[in-house]
Amino acid sequence: MRNYVSLLFVAGLAFLLFVISGQLDFGAAPMLIGQAINQAAPEQVGAANIVTSVVLGYRALDTLGELAILFTAATAGGLMLGRARAGATHDPEAGFILRTAADLLFPLLLVVGLFIIVHGHLTPGGGFQGGVILAAAFFVPLLARPGTHFDHASFAVVEGLAGATFIVIGLFGLVYGGEFLAPLLGQGEMGSLLSAGTLPLLYIAVGLKVGSELAGLMAHIAAYEAVDS
C-alpha cells in the first residue's frame, strides 16, 4: 500500500518536471547578477578566478555556512562514534610496498594540497579541493598503518582555530570595512600570488579547516570496529 502511494508521488513529480521542462530555456539564462558580477568583480574583488570572487567575496557568508555544516557534521559524527576502545581490533597493517608508497605520498599530497589552496584565487581549485587533498595526506598513512594513533585533539584545535580565523577576518571587515566579511588589504596586481586582498587568507583558513575536519571524521570511521560479515 505504502509503496503504491510512493510510486504515485514519484509519478506526480515526474509529470511536474515534464511539464516545466518545456518552459525552460537552455543557454538563454537571464544572468542578471551573473553578468554584473562578471563585469564588476575584477575591480571590486580582484581575483583572477571570478568564481573565487563569488565564493569568498560576494557570497562569503554561504562559504562560512558551508564550513559550519562540515564542522557540525564532523562534530555530530564524532558524537555518534565516540572514542575507539583501547585495544580495539583494527585492520591488519598493509604490506611493505603500500607502506612505502604511503610514506612517499604524504609529503607529495601535502605540497599539492597547499599549492591548490594558495592558488585558489588564480586558477580552478581552492580551499575545499585542496582541503580534501590535505585530508587525504593525513588519512593515507592511517590506512597503511591502521594501528597508529590519530591525534584527534590537535586536529580539533586546528579545526577550531581555522574556523575562528575565518570569522575573525570577517569581523576585521566589520570594523575596518564597514560590513562583516568585507574584503580588506589592497587588491594587488591581478594574477599574482599576493593579490585579491584577504581572499587567499580566507582560503587558507578554509583549506586547513576542511582538511582537519575530513581527516578527523575519516579517522573516526576508520577506528570504528568492524562488524563481522
Binding site: N3, S6, L7, F9, V10, L13, A14, L17, F18, S21, L24, D25, F26, G27, A28, A29, M31, I33, G34, Q35, I37, N38, A41, P42, A48, N49, I50, V51, S53, V54, V55, Y58, R59, D62, T63, G65, E66, I69, L70, T72, A73, A74, A76, G77, M80, L81, T123, P124, F128, M190, G191, V210, L217, H220, I221, Y224, E225, V227
Partner: protein, 152 residues
C-alpha cells in the same frame, strides 16, 4: 548526422538523475542503497542548478594573464554548486556514521526491520504494550523479549 540539442540532452540527464534518485529513495529497503540514492538525487539537483548559468560560446569565468574574455558564463551557479557539493558530502558522511551505529546496535540495515524495532523500543521506553496491557499481548511479548535479547 546532426547531433541532438545540447539543452535537451542535459535536461534529460539532470531530470533523469533526479527521478532515479527519488525512485531509489522510495523503493529501496536497504539503508546503504537509500544513501546512494540521495547522492544521485543531489547530483541531479546540482546539475540542474549548473545548467542555469550556461551561455553558448562563453568562456569559463577566469581571467588569464589579464585578458578578459568577451563573454563569460555565469559564475554564481558555479559558486552555488561548489557549496552544494560540499554540503552534500558532509550530510552523507554523517548519515554513514548513523548507519554504522545502527548496524552495531540493531544488527540490521533493512528499513522495514528497523522501523519495527524502533516502534518496539519506543513503546517499551514509554511503557506501552507490556505484557500486562490488554492489546495484542503475544506480539508485544515477543517484541520485548527480542529487544532485550538485542541489548544483551
Amino acid at each position: 548526422m546532426s547531433p541532438p540539442d545540447l539543452g535537451a540532452i542535459l535536461f534529460t540527464g539532470a531530470f533523469g538523475l533526479i527521478m532515479i534518485g527519488i525512485l531509489g529513495i522510495v523503493i529501496s529497503t536497504h539503508l546503504v542503497r537509500i544513501v546512494l540514492s540521495i547522492v544521485l538525487l543531489e547530483t541531479g539537483a546540482n546539475l540542474l542548478l549548473m545548467l542555469s548559468g550556461y551561455r553558448p560560446g562563453a568562456a569559463a569565468p577566469i581571467i588569464i594573464d589579464g585578458v578578459v574574455p568577451a563573454a563569460m558564463v555565469d559564475p554564481v551557479p558555479q559558486a552555488l554548486v561548489l557549496t552544494a557539493i560540499v554540503i552534500g558530502v558532509a550530510v552523507q558522511a554523517f548519515m554513514m556514521t548513523l548507519v554504522l551505529r545502527l548496524r552495531s546496535v540493531y544488527g540490521t540495515l533493512d528499513i522495514r526491520e528497523l522501523r519495527a524495532r524502533l516502534e518496539r523500543d519506543l513503546a517499551q521506553e514509554a511503557g506501552i504494550g507490556l505484557p500486562t496491557s490488554d492489546d495484542a499481548p503475544d506480539v508485544a511479548g515477543v517484541g520485548t523479549a527480542r529487544a532485550q535479547g538485542g541489548d544483551a
